[in-house]
Amino acid sequence: MIAEIAGRSIADGPRGVRRAPDLADNAVLVARELLSPTVARLVVRPDAGVGSFVAGQYLALGVRVDDRVVQRPYSTASDPAAADAHEFLVRRVPDGALTPRLWALPVGSRVRLGPPKGAFILVAGDQRPHLFVATGTGLAPFLAMLRTLARRPNPPRTVLLHGAARTEDLVCGDEIAALAAGGLPMTYVPTISRPDDPANRGWRGLTGRAEMVLPSVLRSADLPPGGLAAYLCGNPGMVAAAEIALLAGGVAPGDIHAERYWTAPGDMSAPSRTLDSDRA
């Protein structure tokens, strides 16, 4: 496999103890609120302050396990202009490497928070109608975007289509309602993909997967395909199908911004982040 060089045998392999990357704890878990049986809002305050970031970006959140830091990237839901901490929506994955630990971590514990990253960002100055499509905790970056839009003197009309399997996962309804009540010209359209699930008994709203109801939402909201900015975040299946639907409906490719929360099996295309797929 590896050649031998005179004076030293590379074949003997490396010698020594693994040097972990310099990922020191640099933040504090200041709050954890259960929003549903499987989704929590985690609030993390960096030691050095929040710093500059753009709505839509993500940060790596990690906890120390033995001699290494287990990290996963999560979109921040915080308002870039007003945040003193980062707010994340995190789904607990029962056999995951990180989320069970985040659930068990005492509030006040030290954690690792990476710098803001990502190109899935709210484009500044775009006054065209905005379409946000989220599944599950993919709502998080749109909370940041909505909070940013709410600060504009003349915010664009926005439709937020939020899909979930169960009504309990349509989290943050109060925050969304407050943004609309505060004057943001937005329409919130929740949809449930498993209307026959007993957990959804009593649901009288829209049913169907987000990408399936998207065309009807575009029509009923009177969103002009040729003049809107579309943002998609969450399940890669939804993102792929929604992209196709939007392109077929006349939305320009450059007007579609996408963030896949995990890599679909066999997907060799554009990069994605591993978020909800918290593997052990």
Binding site: I2, P73, G118, S272, R273, T274, R279
Partner: protein, 94 residues
Amino acid sequence: MAFVIAAPCIDHLDQACVAVCPVDCISHDPAADRKAYIDPEGCIECGACESACPQGAIMLDRRLPPAWAAFAEIDRGWWIDPEWARDAVDAQAA
């Protein structure tokens, strides 16, 4: 499993991968290294680095062609013994 930085990175070190890695598991010593290295214990296999690399140097370890198979061990080894890894990179580049 993890992504690995293979031969095309040698003496290029574009570092586009470093900027896009969501968990900062890519590193190198600018004064001593000819390529960058991915920490297999930190890699979450998101693939952002693979898409960002202009040299096509990055791929999943299980997809490395035979000629580059050694780079999986080299990336892992850099985090233990950088000098060993540098010697191994030199041997690959020879």
